[in-house]
Symmetry: C2
Subunit: 365 residues, 2 copies
């Protein structure tokens, strides 16, 4: 579990490898405009619907204008959809924009951070840079969050608990009832932040949004994944109005980092549930194809509730990532439990068929 | 000069007035999609060139993709252009994104803030919310920065000096030789941040970028004004590599808040100097028309080196802002030296002709 060592290997290496600072995921280095099959960054391969893309093209006429009125308008739209008020809504240039405000909030107060490992650790990593103590709790043997250990840790060292559910880069989910109990207990000692970036891909997605009646609970979501808008940088969050208000103090002008096209497109995407359903269904199809191939090749994998899957490449004799890149495919790799794993993001069904063909060739070579 | 009172009147009033939190500028409340003539927000009325707009439309194909490689690519492009290295470059979702990092930097250390009043005070306002002492130094009688008083203040209370040059919302500029001397002296005690958002509109623009060899100097610029990309949220800054590196610690993932269309469009815009020249020339034409009208009407104004102009509406008998709105024109107003002023953003030459027609009608009524 030597996460820090893994990351310290990092840097834009002469080896052509780049380590994402927030995941310990190694990826091949690329340039803009390269035409690889991109299965390394958990992007939505279907992009967005034609209808939503049209709203992007239309927004071209106003890229010289500030989108001030869009800020309250989107807050109101999200509040309506999730049966809250606009005061409960946080907006960021990606959910990472909200995570940054949470980091600043923590830097202005005492308290440790408790989170899982592996997880999407952009927030704890930033706090560690400022010397803030972070407790990384290893996943259980079934690769799910060890909520009992996390509760014990934050009881002993209160502050913030950061939970990504479903968990990236592992792909597992914790049962909602168990998570609700955890939140109720943990908030006696700490603030609790639940990151639901991948929730829509679960078999039975159950959000914790209704728990933000508790002033120490926050839930964040994003337009980057199921909505397919990673490049537009727009995310949203839900918190008790007091915490939301306090967090916005750390934003120099809440909502201003979000571009006007992002507001237009996100608003259109929210109304396009058919596309979301389509993406989720296709993602399930793609995953089934991958799993079938992994089984055939007797490759160990972790069953996934997300748009990516982790499988064990420890037995692969050469550099899997580079061999894949040479075949025109970008994937990520990372260490976990002393083994080396590939984190494969779902492509379209066609892309995944191409990937499994290449995987089969490489594996049998 | 009662800036705080002015702002505390603020809020999204039932009067249909909104006060921009960072300027004390009052503006009429609007909704997205309203078709007013927008002369209140210092936007570039010409937008961008057809060639640059094309790069926006092309970026539609990749809004589902993260733009990771664009971050170093734009840094390298800016470094080349300004004869620095990529390590000197900071990127933000608007220059406000960089100002936010500076605010966080200040919150992690001791020190007061010294700035002018009136000025673009988004940064000092944020720090004041956290109880940080801010010294607002009144402009001189000629409406330019009182650099001597600012130097004396920061010598007495070191920390950060924030200078907007040319100054928003006033429109004046300080002589570059005087500013250079100030920076050399002030950095003996404090960090100095020069905001050059409007510099390109000056008669003789001279940037302070070459002064970032001093580890306490930063210069920020934006694609929002002369480049016409306010809605895309992309700004950039220059600092000594040590300060730049320290500031990036306050960004959870430097460059990530910037959208992929913003990277594409900004890169195209940098190569389009003809358009910049066109915008500056048209801006000068528009200002000349406004000034001619103000003289005819014997309205007092402050000569402007920017894309906006301040003129005295104290003698106007009714609510100037609302009368203008009723005529379909949005302008901003603010208090200064015990008088009420209109801050008029330049529109296209045609728009400004429309404005001066309406102004003449209202003024003579």
């Amino acid at each position: 579990m030597n996460r820090r060592n893994w990351i310290s290997k990092a840097t834009l290496g002469s080896t052509g490898v780049v380590i994402l600072p927030h995941l310990g995921i190694a990826m091949p280095k690329t340039n803009l405009g390269d035409t690889y099959l991109r299965l390394a960054s958990n992007e939505n391969p279907y992009g967005c619907s034609e209808q939503v893309k049209k709203s992007f093209l239309t927004s071209a006429t106003a890229i010289n204008r500030y989108a001030f009125p869009a800020i309250p308008e989107l807050k109101i739209a999200l509040a309506k959809r999730f049966q809250l008020t606009a005061e409960n809504i946080l907006l960021g240039a990606g959910s990472s924009g909200i995570l940054e405000a949470v980091a600043q909030f923590m830097l202005q107060r005492e308290g440790d951070v408790t989170t899982a490992t592996p997880t999407f650790d952009i927030l704890p990593s930033m706090l560690e840079k400022f010397g803030r103590k972070t407790h990384y709790i290893l996943l259980k043997q079934d690769h799910t969050l060890d909520l009992d250990a996390m509760l014990a840790k934050t009881k002993e060292h209160p502050g913030l608990v950061y939970i990504v559910n479903p968990n990236n880069p592992i792909g597992t989910v914790v049962a909602s009832q168990e998570l609700r109990q955890f939140i109720t207990e943990a908030t006696k000692y700490s603030h609790v932040l639940i990151d639901e970036a991948y929730l829509e891909f679960c078999d039975n997605p159950e959000s914790m949004i209704d728990m933000v009646i508790n002033p120490r609970v926050m839930v964040i979501k994003t337009f980057s994944k199921v909505y397919g808008l990673a490049g537009l940088r727009i995310g949203y969050g839900f918190a008790h109005k007091e915490w939301a208000n306090e967090l916005e103090k750390f934003m120099i002008f809440a909502g201003l980092p979000i571009s006007s096209p992002a507001f237009s497109v996100a608003t259109a995407a929210l109304d396009d549930q058919n596309f979301v359903d389509f993406v989720v269904q296709k993602n399930t199809e793609s995953k089934a194809i991958v799993v079938e191939t992994l089984r055939k090749l007797e490759i160990d994998y972790i069953p996934s509730q997300t748009s990516f899957i982790l499988f064990d490449i420890s037995k692969y004799p050469t550099e899997f990532m580079m061999d894949m890149k040479n075949k025109g495919i970008l994937i990520g790799t990372r260490d976990y439990l002393g083994k080396k794993w590939c984190r494969l993001s779902m492509g379209t069904v066609e892309e995944i068929k191409e990937f499994t063909k290449v995987l089969t060739e490489l594996w049998k070579a």
